[in-house]
C-alpha cells in the first residue's frame, strides 16, 4: 500500500495506484458522463461503473465520482448521516488520503468537495464547492414500475403520473404524505429525480444551491447532477403541500432549532435525547458558545458521544 504522500517528495516514488485510485481512462469516461448529466439536469446517465475496493452499497458510485473530479489541491470532507466520524465516512476519507494524498477536513466551509451519504450539511454551501451524493437506487419510479425499459420511456416522454400515484397511496393509507426520505423531486421542470435517501428535510437545500451537486450510483451504474442554481421542486398535491419535518425539541448539545435532529435513547428507562445529525454544525455552534439544555450534565454526553466531542475538539 502507499504511504501517506501529501508532500511532493512522496509523489516521486513509484506508486502502486494512479492518483485517486481510478486509471485516467476510467476517470475520463466518468467525467464525460458528469458533463452530460450537468447539461441535462436530473437525467440519469449510464456509466461503466468500476470495481472499487469496497462493497456495493457503501458508496462505490460516490467514490468513483469523487475520484474523477478530485485534484491534488482539493480538500475533501466525507459525511455519513451527517457525521464525520461514522465508519463509512472515516474509511472513505482515509481511502482518498491514501490514494490521492489530498487534504481532508471536517469543516463544511473549508471543503472543496463533500462526499455525503444521506445528508446535506446544515451550513449553506458556496459557489465552487462540489457535493457528491452516494445513491443506492437512482430510479424514483422503480417501486411501482419494475421494468427498466418502461421507466426509461416514462422519463423520455415525461410521463410522471405514476409518481403522484405513490404519493396518493401515502395519503390514502396514513392521512399525509408519509415519505420522509428519497422524496421525489422535479429537476428544472423536466426530469423526475430521486435525491438519494436524504431526508425530505434537506430537499429545499437542493433547490437553487450555488454548489455543484453530483449523484453517483455504483451498483445501478448511473450518474445524475443538479448544476448550481437549478430549480428543484418537491412533488406534492394542491391540498397536501410539501412540508419538511419539524421537532418540538432543540438539539440537546448546542440548542439548535433549525437543524435535522437524531433521536438517541439514553437509558433503559426510556430517557431520550435529540442531537444534531450534522456533527460539524453542532461542534461549531458549541465552540461559539451555544449550549443546549442537556449541557449541564456533561457526564451523560461524554458517555454518549465520546468520539464526537473528542474529534470536535481535536480538529480545532
Amino acid at each position: 500500500m502507499t504511504g501517506p504522500h501529501g508532500n511532493a517528495a512522496g509523489r516521486s516514488f513509484r506508486q502502486p495506484y494512479n492518483f485517486a485510485y481510478l486509471d485516467e481512462q476510467s476517470k475520463r469516461m466518468i467525467r464525460r458522463c458528469i458533463l452530460k448529466s450537468m447539461a441535462v439536469p436530473g437525467l440519469q446517465v449510464p456509466f461503466g461503473s468500476r470495481e472499487m475496493p469496497l462493497a456495493y452499497g457503501w458508496g462505490t458510485g460516490g467514490i468513483q465520482v469523487t475520484a474523477s473530479v478530485i485534484g491534488p489541491n482539493d480538500t475533501l470532507k466525507v459525511i455519513d448521516q451527517g457525521a464525520d466520524d461514522a465508519t463509512n465516512a472515516v474509511s472513505i476519507r482515509r481511502f482518498f488520503k491514501r490514494v490521492a494524498g489530498i487534504a481532508t477536513t471536517e469543516i463544511t466551509e473549508a471543503a472543496t468537495i463533500i462526499q455525503t451519504r444521506h445528508r446535506v450539511p446544515e451550513t449553506p454551501l458556496k459557489e465552487g464547492q462540489i457535493i457528491v451524493y452516494q445513491v443506492p437506487s437512482p430510479e424514483p419510479l422503480r417501486r411501482l414500475e419494475p421494468r427498466d425499459s418502461e421507466t426509461r420511456k416514462m422519463h423520455a416522454y415525461a410521463e410522471y403520473g405514476l409518481m403522484s400515484v405513490e404519493l396518493y397511496e401515502d395519503i390514502a393509507r396514513f392521512g399525509h404524505i408519509a415519505t420522509t426520505n428519497s422524496y421525489p423531486v422535479m429537476t428544472n421542470g423536466r426530469y423526475l429525480m430521486s435525491p438519494s435517501p436524504i431526508p425530505k428535510f434537506d430537499n429545499p437545500k437542493i433547490a437553487n444551491n450555488p454548489a455543484i451537486q453530483l449523484f453517483g450510483a455504483g451498483r445501478e451504474k448511473r450518474i445524475y447532477a443538479v448544476p448550481p442554481y437549478t430549480q428543484v421542486q418537491s412533488l406534492d398535491f394542491e391540498d397536501h403541500p410539501f412540508r419538511v419535518q419539524r421537532w418540538r425539541q432543540c438539539c440537546s448539545l448546542c440548542g439548535a432549532t433549525d437543524s435535522y435532529l437524531d433521536e438517541i435513547v439514553m437509558s433503559d428507562k426510556g430517557r431520550r435525547m435529540f442531537v444534531c445529525s450534522d456533527t460539524d454544525y453542532c461542534t461549531t455552534r458549541r465552540d461559539h458558545g451555544h449550549l443546549g439544555p442537556d449541557r449541564g450534565d456533561p457526564a451523560d454526553i461524554e458517555l454518549l458521544l465520546p468520539s464526537k466531542i473528542a474529534t470536535g475538539s481535536e480538529s480545532r
Binding site: 411501482l144 420511456k153 423520455a156 416522454y157 410521463e159 403520473g161 405514476l162 403522484s164 400515484v165 396518493y168 397511496e169 395519503i171 390514502a172 393509507r173 406534492d236 398535491f237 394542491e238 391540498d239 397536501h240
Partner: protein
Amino acid sequence: MRAAAQFQPARRQPLLSVRQLTKMYGKTVGCRDLSFDLFPGEIIAIVGESGSGKSTLLSCLSGRLMPDQGSVIYDLNHKGPTDILTLSEPERRKLMRTDWGLVHQNPRDGLRMEVTAGGNIGERPMAVGARHYGRIREEAQDWLAKVEIDLLRTDHRPKTFSGGMQQRLQIARILVTKPRLVFMDEPTGGLDVSVQARLLDLLRCLVMNIGVAVVIVTHDLSVARLLADRIIVMWRGNMVETGLADQVLDDPHHPYTQLLVSSVL
C-alpha cells in the same frame, strides 16, 4: 340515442376506420386484409374461435403491434382523422392514456395490484395532470359507486378483491377519463355466469351513458348479442362475415358462422 343518430348517416364521420389491415407472423397469417368502420358510440364485437386472429387485430388497432400493411385512421380530438400507425410513440401512449382505453382479459394485467382501488382509478387523472388529492379521491369514489363497489373498499388493494370486482375496477379505471374508444379483450373471461351477467349489464349501462365506442373481442356469442351493435366474424385471420348483431346471429351466411351459432350451448 343510437336510433336518432342513424337518421343522419351521411354527415357522420367514422371514429375509427380500418383499411386493408394485414399482419403476418412469418408465413403464418395473423390477420389478413381487414377493413371496417366504427362510428362514435357504436359497439362492435369481433367473434371467432381461438387462433382466428382476434387478439392480433386488437393489438394492431390499439397500437401494441405494428401491422405489415394497412392503415388505422382515428378521428383525433385536436387534429382530425389521422393514421395512428404514423403517430410517434409518445403521442400513441398519450392517446392510450386519455382518449382510449384497453380492458384486459386478466384484470391483473390492467390493474396495479399493489396500489389501492382509489389509486388505481386516480392513476389516469393524475397522468393528465390532476394534482388535488381531495378531488381525485372524490372522482375515484364516484366511479367505485358506478361500478357497484362498496366505498369502504376504496383503500383496499385489488388483490383482496374477487375476480368480478377486479374486472369492474379495471373498467372504472379506464372510463374515469371519459375515453371515446375502448378496446376490450374478453372482459367476461374467467367469470362465472351470474357475475358475467351483472358485469355485462353494468357495462351496457355505462357505455350507453357515456356514449363511448367499444371494440370488444370475445368468443362468447351471448356477450356479442347482448352488447354489440355489429358483429365481425373472423376465421383463420380473415373476416368471413359482418353485419348487424341480430342479423348475423339469426341468419348466418358463412358456413363457419353457422357452425359457431349452432354450437352455442
